[in-house]
Subunit: 275 residues, 2 copies
């Protein structure tokens, strides 16, 4: 999905909500466990109940990989379901935090973007910047696909290295400054945690036009209003993720309905902020 | 596998060779493609032909993920084969470069280390340091398991951020200094590329006792003698990886035999260096 289609989607749905599919078999409603593929059934129900309120879905790969081949199958079925059932209506993010030497990243790019190879066709993948330009470049050779580079993350450990400062510039600012030249604002986004919303003003000075994927609203304590205050652009420029608050809103048979209620609350807050 | 067992293995086999299983269906011998699972058949043949010369095997996850669920199955069968056929004789490394917020890394740790969850039981996993302590800690809660933290990588992009310098200290040195306190030298190793062998002296000043996983010998141009000169310790302290040079030594029916010849050359060079 290209940049203009994404922006259209956001203003049409009046939402910049991404729903994180951190699907944990120990947390999904018990009645789903009778299915052959409970994780997929859960995801399908969540997506069907919220697709008009969210612009993006973000399966978190760890929650599938922990179930081995079976989990990888649930993941594949989920992205196929999104693409087949809601073509052009949803932006999909492979939250996989990949990054390796060039010939290896090439293979990761095939995994995320080439359905003839892996069965999966995500719109975007999250990547780690530590190994530098050649570790993320292979992902950029797919037209219409995106990388989302980790810049400033929402966890406590972000302070360990991301604030390492040289010549008045912090590592996460170096990452933003350097990496923005690897692609354009039509194929690169950045992860900036909502728990660091006060940093968004400084970040917007370096990358005024790029989209930001913002995790950390909700369970991790970040504020949507704060994020919007410093991060919104005329093109919106934000995709804000919520996972646990929405998908685990209820442990009962009404889980999808309750997920919709939570998603609706966020969408309405977003609609007001977009005005 | 604990540290003393690993050291025993190295001195018994007179080798610190790791063979990288970067198994690419477009590069393996054509005659294997008739099998149901050509990647697994290839790995099995390579392992059987070299298990006495190598101390470790390192499947590179990207090369499996690019084939989707089918690839994940080949990967699972490979690690199961290693553990069942050569118990206690081989150290296994999940080359996956994972790292995410704590509750997500917990799931990645289950994927790599807990066979009751994922079907896979690797001894070690490569992790990216960018997200800091809480992103790798969950991997350290498994007794006898290891994390291998990216410090100084073998690719050109290593120069983009890893040499970012503040107060006379480069980012990769910061990573070494800080992270060594997250665990001990009995559950943490570091990735240091062979193409940066001249940095090993500085690195050994910071972490004199940790094992290093050294990629980049062979196809990427690094020298084994240089790596040993600066990196060897009394406990060896090195695991040197070679992938393409060994596994693709021949494209014909003699691929396993030729792989053994290449592995044997490296083992003999290592035996001399260990003296």
């Amino acid at each position: 999905m290209d940049r203009s289609a994404l922006i259209d989607l956001i203003f049409r749905k009046k939402s910049f909500l991404c729903i994180g599919l951190d699907t944990d078999l120990t947390k999904i409603p018990k009645h789903l466990l009778v299915h052959d593929d409970p994780a997929f059934e859960f995801n399908k129900a969540i997506i069907d109940a919220t697709y008009d309120l969210a612009v993006a879905y973000k399966p978190n790969f760890a929650f599938y990989e922990c179930n081995g081949t079976r989990g990888w199958q649930s993941l594949t079925k989920t992205i196929q379901y999104i693409n087949e059932t809601y073509p052009g209506q949803l932006f999909s993010i492979a939250d996989a935090k990949r990054g390796d030497i060039g010939n290896t990243s090439q293979q990761y790019a095939r995994a995320m973007f080439d359905p003839t190879s892996s069965g999966m066709a995500f719109d975007a993948v999250t990547v780690a910047p530590y190994m530098g330009e050649d570790s993320v470049k292979p992902f950029l050779s797919y037209p219409g696909k995106w990388i989302i580079v980790l810049a400033l993350t929402s966890n406590k450990g972000a302070e360990d290295f991301q604030f390492f400062t040289a010549g008045g510039s912090r590592l996460f600012e170096q990452v933003l400054s350097k990496s923005q030249h690897w692609g354009g604002n039509d194929n690169m986004m950045y992860v900036v945690g909502a728990t660091k919303a006060e940093m968004l003003a400084a970040i917007r000075k370096i990358i005024p036009g790029h989209f930001l994927l913002v995790p950390g609203v909700g369970a991790q304590g970040g504020s949507l209003a704060e994020v919007a205050k410093y991060g919104l652009t005329k093109d919106c420029g934000l995709i804000v993720n919520s996972s646990r608050n929405i998908i685990y809103a209820s442990p009962g048979v009404d889980f999808a309905e309750k997920a919709r209620e939570e998603a609706k609350k966020m969408q309405q807050e977003m609609e007001a902020l977009l005005k």
